[in-house]
Assembly symmetry: D2
Amino acid sequence: MKKIRVAVMGCTGLVGQQFVRLLDGHPYFDLVALTSSSRSAGRPYRQAMQWSVGTEVPESAGRIAVLDTNLAAVMSEAPEIVFSALPPAAAESIEGALRERGIGVFSNASARRMDADVPILIPEINPGHLDLARRQLGRFGGFIVTNSNCSTSGLALVLKPLDKFGIREVLVTTFQSISGAGRRGLAAMDIAGNVIPWIRQEEEKMARESRKILGQLDGVNIVLPPFEVHATCCRVPVREGHLMSAVIRFDREVSAEAATEALASFRGVPQELGLPTAPERPVIVREEEDRPQPVLDVLAGRPERARGMAVSVGRIRGNSGAISLVLLVHNTVRGAAGTCVLAAELAVSEKLVN
Amino acid sequence: MKKIRVAVMGCTGLVGQQFVRLLDGHPYFDLVALTSSSRSAGRPYRQAMQWSVGTEVPESAGRIAVLDTNLAAVMSEAPEIVFSALPPAAAESIEGALRERGIGVFSNASARRMDADVPILIPEINPGHLDLARRQLGRFGGFIVTNSNCSTSGLALVLKPLDKFGIREVLVTTFQSISGAGRRGLAAMDIAGNVIPWIRQEEEKMARESRKILGQLDGVNIVLPPFEVHATCCRVPVREGHLMSAVIRFDREVSAEAATEALASFRGVPQELGLPTAPERPVIVREEEDRPQPVLDVLAGRPERARGMAVSVGRIRGNSGAISLVLLVHNTVRGAAGTCVLAAELAVSEKLVN
Amino acid sequence: MKKIRVAVMGCTGLVGQQFVRLLDGHPYFDLVALTSSSRSAGRPYRQAMQWSVGTEVPESAGRIAVLDTNLAAVMSEAPEIVFSALPPAAAESIEGALRERGIGVFSNASARRMDADVPILIPEINPGHLDLARRQLGRFGGFIVTNSNCSTSGLALVLKPLDKFGIREVLVTTFQSISGAGRRGLAAMDIAGNVIPWIRQEEEKMARESRKILGQLDGVNIVLPPFEVHATCCRVPVREGHLMSAVIRFDREVSAEAATEALASFRGVPQELGLPTAPERPVIVREEEDRPQPVLDVLAGRPERARGMAVSVGRIRGNSGAISLVLLVHNTVRGAAGTCVLAAELAVSEKLVN
Amino acid sequence: MKKIRVAVMGCTGLVGQQFVRLLDGHPYFDLVALTSSSRSAGRPYRQAMQWSVGTEVPESAGRIAVLDTNLAAVMSEAPEIVFSALPPAAAESIEGALRERGIGVFSNASARRMDADVPILIPEINPGHLDLARRQLGRFGGFIVTNSNCSTSGLALVLKPLDKFGIREVLVTTFQSISGAGRRGLAAMDIAGNVIPWIRQEEEKMARESRKILGQLDGVNIVLPPFEVHATCCRVPVREGHLMSAVIRFDREVSAEAATEALASFRGVPQELGLPTAPERPVIVREEEDRPQPVLDVLAGRPERARGMAVSVGRIRGNSGAISLVLLVHNTVRGAAGTCVLAAELAVSEKLVN
């Protein structure tokens, strides 16, 4: 198979770096362009940022000269797919322009997540929402697919297998890592040895994005599910991995055993198709009384290419018609770049790009 | 007023040290004896431990020769009150023996908290439970009063002012500091940059102790309140202060404003009596969107003697008949030694000791 | 005694806050004005920053309306002394202008430290350098006195008592806390669980400032001492307190005992004069094998007003004509605001201000 | 080539786990036995410890039933080589007994490092010291080879390429990670947000082991080099990787360029032989002003099997006849298990085992 030419916009931040790492040696994709703000542009990628997502910058990506993020520059490299790790303000217009040029954009930016015709795609959960991208394709020549907010991706992957029991309400408290705020987003004095019990816009995103992802695409519109998500989002002094304590209430009594079984046996379309970045199991149930833990479990998922793509769940307990559990998601892999890459793999498999 | 002779058992650990700090220059109490395991016994207090609760060991306490923890040694110093920071196994028998010798024991140990005739006393919440101690006095000549588990003390102080709205259920996720596990209770490799989503016996203690504290003493028995407490207890890499994210469900709709007003205006008997260790306000409501935080708020409470005795509450939000909030308690002060000292002050004021 | 009117410029950062804390209830000084960048100006101090240097903003300072940092605004409050916690670029011109208006400026900024007529004053070490300020007074009507870089202040206080043995060379490796980079100076992802073995300009400052401080004022010029200081400056994930491992080489053999005795017995002019912010002992020698430690010792110094003003030294060892030791200094107190306040107290005592 | 049967004694700790990880799929070695204290013995390895050195326990090792650490148990599996991660007291007698049974023991224990006939082998530095093992072979039928203390291994690898300039003295201050104290060796309250400026026996080990490693084997005895190593060893809140600030004094002037060139071009016998665990470059020179850093550089070394085997060096500066530099070593890989495995590979290559 001829490889598909891809670009990464916003390549110097943590999510941008994860894109580069995940695309290194990718069986479908050939990374041909990297863009960044003009400050870093012009330099070879290796010298344009401080590599923080592994020991060494991939050889070939390291030599790519970083382009300034603008439409002409991106188009000059003739990509078929563009991955976007841009900040929301920068993302909105260029992503739209790329779509009109026939590009398939897979974006980590929040700017267009709530657009009616843009799916928030988590391939194990709502592969059918790709129909929204197909509709964009007809209208614009290209399309935009987004991933969800980092915390939401972990929560939604746990809600999906439990949805069959009839979810009535979700209460969640998060323990989010500092990498979630970006390379320079959080001052050390604010979080060292501390907890900050609030993250701007995070609770709102979890509430609305979870519902869109778990909604049913009814031809043109997504019919939202009948439950609310109430979140309290906190920052903790952990480098990577968002842990969450959730209570999920159902229409009927659900035992811990039934919930465990539903979570452990969950598989989705990416697993059936054997997509390269799909973990064998999207949800891993831990039996130990004190797991998951960020330091031990953040890289869950195999094969090697799917490290950090599995959500770990533990402490599944039933009480008074609700299930309590603890879950952990790798915020810059499954919660960001990894899900975008997996979505692009699904789009290729579904012939939206070729 | 002649000062009352007091002893501290288990003086070398973090809670023992907080007892020593709080008793330094106390207007009611004269610290005359300190006990520890035989390993430290015989040495002046200053050399018997690594002082960790402030800059310097109080002068006079520093010179006291530490006794081995046994009945004869404690009684040899003729205390009227004994504060206990012993581990549960060690506490059970010696606390009982001291009670039979006419001593008033104020204990941080969990061993006897659920005894029917022993109150878990938080003076702002259930001063009337002191009647149980009065009953013990008649039977044994002395009495035992316990404090609650560290997390419970913070939660209960927030539940009390809201109880009038009719609490139906409490869901709480904790972010507990490493000092809660004691000076050597937690290995650095386990918690550095990590979260451990489980603490042995902690969830069970929160469930049962909260209900006993908030129960009504009906002559002889405590009538438990009609709600359950479901906790998920987690350890975070913070030195001091337990933060909690709680959702409290009521029989009827309660607005955030009403909850805020109830919490901010809460005062108890210790405030009315002006007890030395009573904070002006037992609950401090923070208006900022990102408070309370352990590093900034753990020492809340004034005057100086009441530092760490106030619980801070923030992020009070109403949703679908429930109130969500975040609270913070100083786990070794309000959650341990401080509440025992305050309880002893109340007992003196109520003439149980004199 | 009538109190002297003082202002603090740059009041919202960590050093500015320490100034405010140290000036609260000060026996010589009356805090009448606070300035900040225009972003915070106009608001009451309490709402202009996030208080981070203690539990509560001092009552009276909290109500002061923060002024924009400019000459007219500062002069409108008619201060006699101005404490400056401004960044270097902002400091240079306004400090000079204030001096020409007859103000005594005590500055934490590095801008003018190496000016020939400006002393870097550490009152225990070089009180005679105040003559430089006296000379400025004649020329400008006012004067500028600086403190040293935060690490230098700790090192210099340890070198001074040892100087009599004939220092030939100083090698020092620092473990500097994150507060040394300011409230927002260091990104959490850079330092969490990490060490950064370089701090911009820090090694150069230590080398040149130490020598100026320990130089002899020979009428008009400072004669530099005959040794070099070679530093390797590293950042560690500690909130407050700069620890250093130093090797000091002498012209002759010096025993650990002799060095210990020299350090422990060291007193300076501030101790003789009983200045309010002077610690009883400027250098505290710790006998334990594993001290000083930032968490335990950063607040060393008494009385209460001198907390954080004493440097702790431990692990004093002699080897092959050199002394090795470990020292700890509170970087925002002794290393910044505290030394400025002490210098101002000395200036008052020496009648440079009245 | 037929694989050599090997065992790991002390398999549950961090170093034991690194042995298991490094031996997984090893081209020379077949892991046939694992031993531990009787507490864990009997259980499959997977359930006998908390895996902390990667995401997942190697499949085959995970199924091995852990044996109690005793001579009979180890010999029952007929290993030819035994890797030892035992504590010193436990190591001394069993390692001696295994040697008498004809086993080649590669030990991380300090017990026998200073034995005259036992080499401290770092294959890039002193491969010729393997002659000591050959001599043991003649006398006992088997032999013991040790690695050095974790900090020493990093320092020695940096001293070796510089030795040709005539080292006169080494001064070093360490920033050692918490994993160096073992899985449960350090209490969280002691190190969280803190620095401890002392590690038991560490400075003595660095002083004597460095000299033995860099000594010349003169037939029977090791002639020690003419310099001393003076260390100040400190613990910092970092999970993995020991960083050091060193000043190395020479007999003659050495420029930073010459030192850099010597370090960057250094290769040893393991690189010539292409041993499986040998990193391409044993010392990696970083040009950036702020490297090495534990979080970014601890896993330096390739290929994949040699991750953590390269020492990173940066900040190479010359001053007054000395070189200052900062180095970083992975304490449980290059500083422990990795060097033992590399030494065993060398021994196989040199036909001491076959």
